[in-house]
Amino acid sequence: MPFFTSSLLFFLSIVVLLKSFIEKDEGGDKEPLIMVGGNLQKPLGLVAALSVYTLLLNVFGYLITTFFLISLVLFIFDPNLKNWWKYLVIGAITVSLSFLIFSKWFQVQLPMSVFGIGF
């Protein structure tokens, strides 16, 4: 079964590739291979923030990493530097509330820091 599926995927990928070349030759750009549009800074920033968060979660624990993540995400969504301290306050409140709800109420085991703080 994996062989059949992979062969089909290979065949269809070739079809898409050829189709894009043929359409390019015809002068139209109806189906470009990669369609990039819009403002990419924010999505890239968010992905970077989430990737760093994943790497540091088990090191610094839920409270510390999530606090920084939420503050950073708020900043990414609305980069208004005048109110940066507001983001830190909102981040702290959100993380504390989420910790209470998930850890205490739903009994979810959230990751603990290697230093024993900020679980």
């Binding site: 599926t5 189709k19 968010l46 994943t54 993540l69 939420i70 995400v73 969504f77 959230l110």
Partner: protein, 494 residues
């Protein structure tokens, strides 16, 4: 057990306080998600799927189902008042609903959408009750070859109905199948496609996949541009439609219900297709088609009824054949499997309380939605004012904790982010994620059915062609593929 006894059993289950609570939570979240543009029913169900791990099985499925049909109600509010559909199945409601609002008739538009949805939802449940028994009985006669071909048909139909490109949709389906192979092969015990990562031995869970493809990807797409919403400044008054409104729309509601219900049953169909089809039918049958797009009440009543009836219809293949017909049903399917319940013809026999409990809860949920949507319409309008910059970080937080809580694994968070990025790129390149998820869910069953069939036939693929039902399904697949290729060739020639 007769139908009446079954219904009574269902109400006995669904009227339990805990189930009423979960049903209420489901429809409330559903309406909220429907009202808020940016996150659809699939994203919401994906985010909430991990919470069902800690809830009783019936209650969690009741909640997930509540989200699904609650979204259809909520979606109409934004379509009518803001001209932004809360989700895809409410797109056509914008055409006439918003025009009605501009003419000062927002109240009757919202009213007929809610009543139409209620009538359709209720009749849809009656249909579900009528069709479930005979289909489940017929499904018991199905062997592995029939199941295999039926699942292939489901995947092809979903790809055929894909809005963008058939080839790309099939690519997504094959990718979904390949993802389902990751981990230990249940028959031979062989390790497949794990890249030597121990965490992948049990395969990739559905939660990181759907949360990434629908939750994270949707957020990534939405933060690219600032979404501006201007709520139509009108007092929403007189929600009860007049007698003339009723006379104009009652047949549209009934037609929409029947059409939506049957389109919902079809694999790959669902609420979106149903609402578009109902609008087209109403416009065609109308004596004054020129009124459509300028505030015709039938243009709101028909599609809104159809999308609700489709949600009931979509339960039929899942509950009777054990095959999810669309991606929302695939999520419910995953929800049932998490709790050790296998949807299919035996579910009706072995767990009638689950089946009838869910069916009757939908009826109760429809009543709750009517109460939630009509008197509280002003509250939902206020919800529209919540800024996205506060909403999206909360959704991200919910996704992160939700995906982590399933296995206490950081790997799952990483996978979710990878699928989020993949989903974002897929949207940019016109690849739809729905066939991927459906194929991923069907993958293990498809492989098992194929292996069993080949064992039955000593390795001969002819078994799929000599059994009539299986051959019929495969013939239909071939027909659909040929039709699609012919249509493309014709388009090119023009």
């Amino acid at each position: 057990m007769g139908v009446l006894e079954s219904i009574l059993l269902g109400f006995q289950v669904s009227l339990q306080p805990i189930n009423l609570f979960y049903c209420f939570m489901g429809v409330l979240i559903g309406t909220l998600v429907g009202v808020l543009p940016g996150i659809g029913p699939i994203g919401a169900m994906a985010i909430l799927l991990p919470t069902t791990y800690h809830a009783p099985p019936i209650s969690s499925i009741i909640m997930l189902a509540g989200i699904y049909y609650g979204v259809q109600y909520g979606g109409s509010t934004t379509s009518i008042l803001v001209n932004i559909p809360g989700e895809a199945s409410s797109v056509v409601t914008c055409l006439d609903g918003y025009q009605m609002a501009r003419q000062g008739r927002a109240g009757p538009a919202l009213g007929i959408a809610a009543f139409g949805s209620f009538i359709a939802g209720t009749l849809g449940i009656v249909g579900l009750m009528m069709f479930a028994f005979p289909l489940a009985r017929a499904a018991l006669k199905f062997g592995p070859p029939e199941y295999f071909s039926l699942m292939v048909l489901g995947l092809i139909l979903l790809s055929y109905l894909a809005q963008k490109s058939l080839v790309k949709a099939i690519i997504m389906a094959t990718l979904g199948l390949i993802l389902s192979y990751i981990g230990l092969d249940t028959v031979s015990g062989q390790v497949r496609f794990t890249l030597n990562i121990t965490g992948l031995l049990e395969g990739i869970g559905i939660i990181p996949i759907v949360m990434g493809l629908f939750g994270i990807a949707e957020i990534l797409e939405n933060i690219e541009a600032v979404i501006t919403r201007s709520i139509f400044k009108t007092h929403v008054k007189g929600l009860l439609p007049t007698i003339k409104d009723w006379a104009d729309s009652i047949w549209a509601i009934l037609r929409g219900t029947v059409l939506g219900f049957f389109l919902g049953i079809l694999p790959g169909g669902g609420a979106v297709l149903a609402s578009f089809a109902a609008y087209a039918v109403e416009k065609k049958l109308s004596k004054h088609p020129e009124r459509f797009g300028k505030g015709a009440i039938e243009g709101v009543a028909g599609p809104e009824s159809a999308n609700n009836a489709a949600t009931s219809g979509a339960f039929i293949p899942l509950m009777t054949l054990g095959i999810p017909s669309n991606v929302v049903m695939a999520m419910l399917f995953a929800g049932l499997l998490i709790h050790g319940l296998t949807p299919g013809p035996l579910l009706l026999k072995e767990h009638p309380d689950v089946f009838w409990g869910i069916v009757t809860s939908m009826y109760i949920g429809n009543v709750m939605l009517l109460i939630l949507n009509l008197p509280l319409i002003r509250m939902w309008v206020q919800v529209l004012k919540i800024p996205f910059r506060f909403l999206f970080p909360l959704i991200i937080l919910f996704c992160l904790v939700g995906v982590y809580s399933v296995n206490n694994s950081v790997l799952d968070i990483g996978l979710m982010i990878i699928f989020g990025v993949l989903g974002y790129i897929m949207r940019k390149c016109d690849y739809e994620p729905a066939p991927l998820v459906l194929a991923y869910v069907l993958g293990p069953m498809l492989e098992q059915a194929m292996r069993q069939s080949l064992k039955m036939s000593d390795g001969s693929f002819a078994i799929f062609l000599v059994r009539p039902i299986s051959a019929g399904c495969l013939a239909l697949c071939a027909f659909l593929l040929i039709m699609s290729i012919m249509a493309q060739v014709k388009r090119k020639a023009h």
